[in-house]
Subunit: 296 residues, 3 copies
């Protein structure tokens, strides 16, 4: 006989087959934790109170993504942060590699490879996700966030640049062309509650506990399903709604040119001067409010 009680009991005692678990090195700016085919990757740049995306972040993610591309056991990857009030502030523009001619293609390749992983990728956001942090986030499969103190934004245009790592192309696929224009061009933030309303994120929660309960319920299903089925569906959804590698790289190349724009360089200098006698933590908390000062 069919019984819901029996079903849920059966479900609770489901035992997964033993797997060849993914082996990961220690990363400088990422913490990792693997639990029965669900990998949690935590942004943690110990050198930055605002969790800047630096060379260690990028090298770690690049290595991780390559390993996931050859891994058949991990089903879900959750990306979160343990730095208070910051998911990822933005790219550290003082990274030496930013000036290298290959940077655009390297960053674009990482974003593209993340968007096309066989595994299901989930962003769990508490705090500010801006710039490269939000570009990475919108390339993931789905996004969840807490409402308190979480903000999303692309501050690049306000600093004389623009989101050139794919973010400008993934965002319209979530919120439409008109709203992508408003948020990207004005470099202003959006709250998690408003982000949920327009589709920037899948769902916003009152508390961290509620968010992880929801994500746990989701991953308890996803980790059961065959990776080939998950990837088959992802490939098809991406075919209809994700930018191609060529399109993302085209953005990256424009971005590199824009870095040399005198107005962008002037904004960068002004930015350094503004930060000289201020706490970066306080400035980054309200970054969109500070951007107009770069043009005084």
């Amino acid at each position: 006989m069919f019984s819901l009680q029996l079903l849920s009991l059966a479900l609770a005692t489901t035992i997964l087959p033993a797997t060849l678990a993914l082996k990961l090195p220690e990363y400088k700016a990422l913490k990792t934790s693997l639990n029965s085919s669900v990998l949690t990757v935590t942004f943690h740049n110990a050198d930055s109170p605002v969790n800047l995306w630096n060379q260690d972040t990028q090298d770690g993610l690049t290595d991780l993504v390559e390993r996931l591309q050859h891994d058949k056991e991990t089903k879900v990857v959750i990306f979160n942060s343990d730095v208070p009030r910051f998911y990822v502030a933005h790219l550290d523009l003082s990274m030496p590699s930013v000036a290298e001619p290959t940077f655009a293609e390297t960053f674009a390749t990482l974003i593209y490879n993340v968007s096309t992983l066989h595994q299901v990728t989930i962003g769990a956001v508490e705090g500010r996700a801006r710039g490269a942090g939000n570009e990475f986030l919108v390339a993931l499969d789905m996004r969840f966030a807490t409402k308190t103190d979480t903000l999303f934004g692309q501050p690049e245009v306000g600093t004389g640049l623009f989101p050139g790592g794919g973010g400008s192309q993934f965002l319209p696929g979530l919120i439409g062309r008109g709203r992508a224009m408003e948020y990207i061009l004005s470099s202003k933030d959006i709250t998690a509650g408003d982000a949920e309303k327009i589709g920037w994120i899948n769902k916003a929660f009152d508390t961290s506990a509620e968010m992880y309960t929801y994500i746990d319920q989701l991953t308890s299903r996803l980790r059961l399903f065959p990776l080939t089925a998950l990837y088959g569906a992802k490939k098809s959804i991406n075919r209809a709604s994700a930018p191609t590698f060529k399109d993302i790289v085209a953005d990256g190349i424009s971005f590199r040119k824009q870095l040399a724009d005198p107005l962008a360089q002037a904004a960068a200098k002004k930015s350094a001067a503004l930060l000289a006698n201020r706490s970066q933590f306080e400035v980054e908390l309200i970054l969109p409010d500070v951007l107009p000062l770069l043009y005084q």
Copy 2:
């Protein structure tokens, strides 16, 4: 003199020119009813209490769509169901044609042809629309539903497959990439109320009567307008937002390969075993809750 009262009176007595009505055969799994250029097609698989999409459904729809392609009189086609609690449960995987090498292209061709009909196509949903039922639905021009007891879902990934008939490509064009990923990858249902909020359906209604009042008002306009104008607009909207035939077929070919995946075949066997001593009707009512049992 201009008067709203006169206008609405005039409207009520509008007489349409006599037309060469569409001639349709009796279909085994579809009921049809034509009323002044508005055709209603009712999914009714008499052999299935959950309204499975079987060979009769597919053959009937294929024939119907070919006739509509050559018909100049019908303006609107409404697709509904008269099976209690089920719009269309999903594809009957025991259909012999599923194993044939031409199945992917046949199904993809049907979905593509439906999405490019000259006539306006409307889904009126009461009950569960899952799998092939939802793939068909999202390829229609628009969708309406009652809130009580209506659910939409793509359970394929949970059975080791994926929506390979175009649904994975039409859905992101309605609800965005992030939400399409969440619902398709997790194989969970969405209610009509939530589906309206994110754009999966156009509008949800408290009662069946309210839904049909809304649809009647809509079709009372649509049936007046020239078919050439309706099709001109459809072609243009589709150019911007519908997958191409090539893209849909590409999915179909991947789907056929996935049918041979050992994990998909194991899930199918488990599914058969689970159903052996249970009522299909009760299992299908809560299908997303049952899927994890296939991996015990």
Copy 3:
């Protein structure tokens, strides 16, 4: 020390560098006003109480867009109307150029050029924006509106035509394929409140004052940022979400053919007859209610 009070004080006294202001001629159907790199363009067809889009409108916009393409100082262009209750009613089909073989390409070129301007383009809507008015609007970067008495619609299908100037392709990128189908095929209006909910416009406001306060806050940021950065972002967003020139022209060519359709011509004749003894202002106020009368 870092202080929010100081920041906002600093912001208020920001002084922009002197610029070579854009020089514009007097336009017959457009009023223009330039204020520190923010240009306001007001639709004002003095010959039409419903602000029809006529030859003067089109010639003015074409000239304006060409000048903006070569202008490096203007950062933002706001398009509004000063005709009570009408933003732009629709195209004046009695314009002689409509019948010319080059019309489709001329109109499509204008819409495409507007969508790819370096400057940020904003629609500020009070009153009805229908037909060509709404096609122009959805090609802009963003749209705001007051809730009272504002309506959006594409009445073309109801007159035997279809939106052939790009609108049918821009709209699905804002509201999805299903809702674009419903509104374009039925030729019915949507209110500003509902338009905000589904993404047709960015935001709806209770009063004109509230709308302009919001737009002012937005432009006070946008006018500071480098034009190269604004354009870099726009190009990237458009790459992902705007139709190409080739796609828009393809629509324009279909539209021109549809103009010759006997049913479209019959609807146009009927329309002229209906208007003969009625006030155009009153008919246009409720245009979607009147369209069914063309088929009596």
